[in-house]
């Protein structure tokens, strides 16, 4: 057994989850509250601070005023609240459901190349040759958390929320899966690392001018890539249950949907699962359409530690842009009606994605036959 591999993989998993994902989830919640406050012309959280922090010169006032400690207070509150289990619920599933929503979000991160190299380690946890299929497989398992939460609660509104979400997620998974096929037709590989390396050289799929060398092909395929990206983006909103597609928890109709009966840290797990899913979706969009860790000047895989860190920084930066987009859209758009949601998924996106696959394949065939 290759112990080196085992040790480094464990290290990568631990670092990604506990040093990157968990803090990001926590601070995404803070960002959500701050940005919503900005959009609604409020101040947002600004009260929580630790003693003596204000005394630090220059950065002290910022650390006390911007709600930097709010996530810790929220987390502590979630743990200390009474964990109430209603006596009519189905206990086993009631306990299982929150974990099942949280885990898939973390598992999808495993195949995402979040950097090129650091030393001689590739900055991806599992460099699978069926990368994208793995991602879709795990994402499709995410439905179980919500549907079981609805079932376990054994009451009407959560159940309706669970059923709605199942229908919604299955519908949009199809559109999402079909929307990325053009990307793989162009790249000729399912491995996400290879796709990023290709984009670094020949232009990002969504922005072909961000390239090491300009090619005619990437410009000709630009419209296809944009349609792909658009469908993927909208489907990602639907898959993560974010507004304008948060039908599973639409509070005017369903109280709070599938998580109505949950309290304390179990509710917090659903809440964190949503943000972890947003992070995973952002990572996927950056990897598939926006060149992953690459920038035009930084296109080759790193061979120094500094360049490696820079690549990780570029990736995280791009991902944060999408996180802000997720939050921004939530506070700008109203919710769809349920029939509109289904109509958009099945009657608009699925045919459009299918046509897009055909057009991309034709363009590729014509270009390659010359």
């Amino acid at each position: 057994m290759d112990w080196n591999f085992v040790i480094f993989s464990t290290l990568k998993i631990l670092c990604v989850i506990f040093l990157a994902l968990m803090p990001m989830v926590a601070y995404a919640v803070l960002a959500e509250r701050k940005i919503s406050a900005f959009i609604q012309d409020r101040v947002g959280p600004n009260r929580v601070s630790l003693p003596l922090i204000g005394g630090i010169p220059i950065i002290g006032p910022f650390l006390t005023r911007w709600g930097v400690w709010q996530p810790m207070a929220d987390g502590l509150k979630a743990f200390l609240k009474e964990d109430f289990t209603p006596n009519y619920v189905r206990k086993a599933y009631f306990w299982l459901a929150p974990a099942l929503t949280m885990t898939p979000a973390f598992l999808t991160i495993a195949v995402i190349p979040f950097g090129s190299n650091l030393g001689n380690q590739k900055m991806v946890i599992a460099d699978l040759n069926v990368g994208i299929l793995y991602t879709f497989g795990i994402v499709s398992l995410g439905v179980y958390g919500i549907v079981l939460a609805g079932y376990a609660s054994n009451s009407k509104y959560p159940f309706l929320g669970g059923i709605r979400s199942t229908a919604q997620m299955i519908s949009y998974e199809i559109a999402m899966g079909m929307s990325v096929i053009p990307v793989f037709l162009v790249a000729g590989d399912l491995n996400l690392s290879k796709i990023v390396e290709r984009q670094a050289l020949e232009g990002w799929f969504a922005l072909p001018f961000m390239a090491q060398q300009q090619t005619l092909m990437s410009y000709l395929l630009w419209p296809c890539a944009m349609i792909s990206f658009f469908i993927f983006l909208v489907s990602a909103f639907a898959e993560t249950n974010r507004l304008p597609f948060d039908l599973p928890e639409s509070e005017t109709e369903l109280v709070a949907g599938y998580n109505t009966e949950y309290s304390s840290i179990k509710f917090a797990l659903f809440f964190m699962g949503e943000y972890a899913n947003m992070i995973a979706a952002s990572c996927m969009m950056v990897t598939l359409f926006f060149g992953g860790w690459s920038l035009p000047g930084l296109a080759t895989p790193a061979n120094t530690i500094l360049a490696g860190l820079l690549h990780i920084g570029v990736f995280v930066g791009k991902m944060l842009v999408f996180m802000v987009l997720f939050i921004w859209v939530r506070w700008m758009l109203p919710r769809f009606r349920y029939d509109q949601l289904m109509d958009l998924g099945w009657r608009r996106f699925v045919p459009l994605a299918l046509a897009n696959i055909l057009v991309t394949a034709t363009v590729l065939l014509l270009l390659n036959s010359k």
Binding site: M1, Y93, L128, N129, V130, L133, Y134, F136, G137, I138, V139, S140, L141, V143, Y144, V147, L148, Y151, F159, I163, T166, A167, I170, E173, L190
Partner: protein, 170 residues
């Protein structure tokens, strides 16, 4: 024994155990529990596929069966009246025929294992190509006609379902 062998035994045991719990669960007769154990069976079978280097098959197994088909199963089971199902008695006839058919299959497997001499001979493991590209080449070069016929069959099934689910045809 290498790590892969241990993993094989773990996944194989999980597949069998979960598969058994789908049909004969001593703790619960709730159909939802059965469906969830079926999901676990499918996932552990995907693990077996990975050990055979059939990565594409493993991913599709989870994507299609665990992710889509079983969710719809669950969907339907949850909407049905489950109380009656839980109260239903096990019928002797069903039990005996079921056991007999399982024994028959087991007999066939054992017979092949004991009698067929080719299995005991030292066999070369076949070259394993489970990647997407290899599978695509085989499907679209060697087995194009069966593949297309299957697609047609699926299309017919799809049209049929839509036709059946429409209440009033204009």
């Amino acid at each position: 024994m290498a790590a892969q062998d241990y993993l094989f035994y773990i996944f194989a045991a999980l597949t069998l155990l979960c598969g058994l719990l789908v049909v004969v669960n001593p703790f619960s007769r709730n159909p939802v529990t059965s469906a969830m154990f079926l999901v676990l069976t499918i996932v552990s079978m995907a693990g077996l596929f990975v050990l055979l280097h059939a990565f594409f098959l493993a991913a599709v197994q989870i994507l299609v069966y665990a992710g889509a088909v079983m969710v719809l199963f669950l969907f339907v089971i949850m909407l049905l009246d489950l109380k009656e199902e839980e109260r239903r008695k096990i019928r002797l006839f069903g039990l005996i025929t079921g056991l007999l058919s399982v024994l028959a299959v087991l007999g066939v497997v054992l017979k092949t294992y004991l009698v067929d001499s080719r299995l005991s001979a030292n066999l070369q493991p076949p070259t394993i190509e489970g990647g997407t590209a290899a599978l695509g080449t085989i499907l679209f070069k060697n087995y194009l006609l069966p593949f297309e016929i299957l697609s047609l069959l699926l299309l017919v099934a799809m049209v049929g379902v839509i036709l059946l689910s429409k209440k009033d045809l204009k």
